[in-house]
Symmetry: C2
Subunit: 179 residues, 2 copies
C-alpha cells in the first residue's frame, strides 16, 4: 500500500484513543509488565510515543521542509522516556500523548502538503536521503507497531497461565520474542 | 502472571472498544488488508472474535461446569467467519461483537465463580484435561493476540512505503510473518 493522506490521517488520529482504551485504569501489573530484561512495558511505550511527538515526527517534517537534505535530522533518542516518564502517572501520560498528537496533526494540516511535496527529501543521520513520504509512512507504521507491542506484552503475561492452549497462541511463543 | 478475575475482567471488558477504535470507519483498504495468501484481514479477525463468543468461551465455561472432564468440548471452528461474515459490514460486526461480549461477561458474572472453581477441569478435544483457569486465561490472551494481529496486519501494509526505516520497525520484517 502506498502512502496517502486519506489513508494515513484516520490512523494517526485514533492512536491516542486506542492506547487509552487498551490501558487506562488497568492494574499496574498489566501496565508495568515487561517481556523480559531490557524490554519495554506498556507504560514505557506511551512515554516513547510522547517523545516521538515532541522530537521526531512533526519536528522532522518541519526540519525537512526547511532544510531539505542539506542538514540531517537530530538523532532520535528512543529510550528518552526512561527519564522523562519518571514520577508521572499513566493517565497523565495518556492525556499528554493525546494533546501532543492533536497538536501534531493540526501542524501537519496547516502545512497543506500536496502529493508532490511527498517526494521532497531530507537527510536521516543514519540512512542518508529519505523522502517526506517515507517519514510520514513511518509515523503510521510506528504507531501500529507500538499498539501491537502493547497487546503482545500483555498477552505474554499469560504465557504460562493458558497451559496447553499456548500451542494455538502464536504470539506467546518465545520464537517471536525478538519481533 | 497468574490468572485472577481482578486482572482479567477489565481486559475482556474493553476489547470491543479497542477493536472499534482501531477499525471503525477506516477505508476498506485497511480493514480488508492481509499479510499474504491465507492470512486474515482485520475484518476477518472481528468475525473470528464473534465466533469465539458464540461457540468457544462462555459455551465452554458452561460445558465444563456441567460435564467436568467427562465430555469433551465441541471443536472450535477457527475459520467459521469466512462464511458467517459474508455480506456483513464491519460496523455491523463490531456492534455484534460488543453485544455478544457484554452478554458473555454477564453470564460469567452470574456464575459467581470462586478461586476454587478455577481448578475445576474440563476436557479439550485435542489437549485432554484442562482447567477453568487455563480456559479463562486463554480468553484474555486470545483477545490481546488478535488486537496485536490487527495492528500488525495494518502496519505491514506500509512495509515498503517506510523505505529505509524498515530496519527500525521490527514488526514489519518478514522474519516474524509467521508469529
Amino acid at each position: 500500500m502506498d502512502f496517502s493522506f486519506t489513508m494515513a490521517l484516520p490512523v494517526l488520529r485514533r492512536t491516542p484513543s486506542v492506547v487509552r482504551d487498551l490501558l487506562a485504569d488497568l492494574p499496574a501489573s498489566w501496565t508495568g509488565a515487561v517481556e523480559g530484561p531490557n524490554t519495554w512495558s506498556p507504560f514505557d511505550v506511551v512515554g516513547h510515543l510522547i517523545h516521538g511527538e515532541r522530537t521526531d515526527w512533526m519536528p522532522r517534517v518541519e526540519h525537512l521542509l526547511r532544510h531539505g537534505d542539506a542538514v540531517p535530522f537530530a538523532p532520535f533518542q528512543r529510550e528518552a522516556m526512561f527519564t522523562a516518564s519518571k514520577g508521572k502517572s499513566l493517565s497523565e501520560l495518556l492525556e499528554t500523548f493525546a494533546d501532543l498528537r492533536r497538536d501534531s496533526l493540526e501542524r501537519l494540516s496547516a502545512l497543506q502538503l500536496s502529493a508532490a511535496d511527498l517526494e521532497r527529501t531530507g537527510r536521516h543521520p543514519e540512512f542518508g536521503i529519505v523522502t517526506l513520504r517515507q517519514l510520514l509512512s513511518t509515523w503510521v507504521a510506528h504507531d501500529l507497531g507500538h499498539i501491537g507491542q502493547i497487546a503482545r506484552v500483555m498477552a505474554r503475561q499469560y504465557a504460562e497461565a493458558v497451559g496447553p492452549w499456548r500451542a494455538y497462541l502464536s504470539m506467546l511463543s518465545t520464537y517471536s520474542l525478538k519481533t
